[in-house]
Symmetry: C2
Subunit: 243 residues, 2 copies
């Protein structure tokens, strides 16, 4: 009973934090960075942080915790697999849109792509995420992966799934930091004097950090792990569900 | 036997990566940022990345893995506790020096302190590290902490010990990113055109990321965890060792 209640409480906290991360990102981009458009302007860029924080951080954080929900421990695993795949697919769509937003903006404005450490890290996270989705789909939802392969690949999928979280946190933090240095250089109140925008976006960065650490904490707690973690569940592909 | 060999191989890889991180940081600061001094100039600042990468990342990474060394699983735990405390103490000394280097430089040059997200994150990591060291020393080395307290505090100490790693990785990445934007703005080849320095420091950032992820991987692998993880070891303070 205690694991269920404590997991529920943590989930509520993570839900609040996740919503706060998205709301803070939207408010920052809306209020200080000029709002949204889809026209290659800096307003198009503004979708980039919103989509990345929502998809890559919050939806991915929710997706990696699906199998920690105690309800998922009994009964068929398929609905939970579909929920995991659905959440990560939604995240993936947002990630692609987030990439389009920044590349289109750069290209229209004649700004170079993929030079900063933030961009290298972010692209690394996107590539890892894409491999995870494709491999997870082919191994655990499609019926033709042999059982030995599922058993072998599962811990790898689980490890890289959680490795995405610190990667994304580092990408978000470096991205916010770099945007503030870009934006608050030529203003009357530079970043170094901590105007309201800098406070706000720094707090957003800390919220993202706490969210990421709490997701890693929830993943690491043995008491919240699915008890039958290495048994039947690797052997249940989509098309064999009714066997 | 296999866990021992695989852990040895991972340790060698981590050793090489850790040395590479330090060597890359020293080479970057020596070759491109102007070398070292202790006089409040930008050469004093250069100690900051060197001390932080060495202490906060590499030594801390080694320290958190001490209890994963299979040799530590049998025999008295005290030498390993002292090794863990010694490595983290060495790290702490470097961290303090790394902070002095950046604050002195800022103060002498009239640059504001503690405004960027990188600095907030870094200070958060330093505060967490300090709490961990003080609490770990008082709980596991000094003799007066009661057994129930050790048992209660140990998983918290272990969790925050591993939480420091992603925090430090994010701090290092955002720090390198920000330094490159500072440095490569007014040069003939800006950051956006990826001069050799940018390539070099970006690769340093990726090395730091891989090092951090591998440390987290080594920590998470059940096969490398000390088998008696929740038994006698919480009950063995320094001064009761010979009982």
């Amino acid at each position: 009973m205690i694991p269920r209640v404590s997991f529920l409480l943590l989930s509520i906290l993570l839900g609040i934090l996740g919503i706060l991360c998205v709301v803070f990102t939207v408010y920052w981009t809306q209020h200080w960075l000029g709002g949204f458009a889809w026209d290659g302007s800096s307003q198009m860029f503004n979708w980039h942080p919103v989509f990345m924080v929502t998809g890559m951080l919050v939806l991915t954080g929710a997706a990696v915790l699906v199998y920690r929900v105690p309800l998922s421990w009994s009964g068929p695993k398929l609905p939970w697999k579909l929920l995991h795949a659905g959440l990560t697919l939604a995240a993936f769509i947002l990630i692609v849109l987030g990439l389009v937003a920044v590349f289109e903006y750069h290209n229209k404005q004649g700004i170079a792509n993929m030079y900063s450490l933030h961009s290298w890290l972010g692209l690394g996270a996107v590539l890892l995420f894409s491999c995870q989705w494709a491999m997870g789909f082919a191994s655990f939802l499609l019926p033709w992966a042999p059982t030995w392969f599922r058993a072998l690949y599962k811990p790898i999928h689980v490890f890289f799934g959680s490795a995405i979280i610190p990667l994304v946190v580092a990408a978000c933090i470096s991205g916010i930091n770099e945007k503030l240095f870009f934006k608050l250089t030529s203003t009357t109140t530079p970043y170094s004097q901590l105007p309201a925008e800098a406070w706000f976006a720094n707090i957003l960065g800390m919220l993202i950090l706490v969210f990421g650490l709490l997701v890693l904490f929830a993943l690491a707690m043995p008491v919240w792990k699915r008890p039958d973690v290495n048994s039947q569940d690797t052997q249940e592909p989509l098309l064999q569900e009714d066997k």
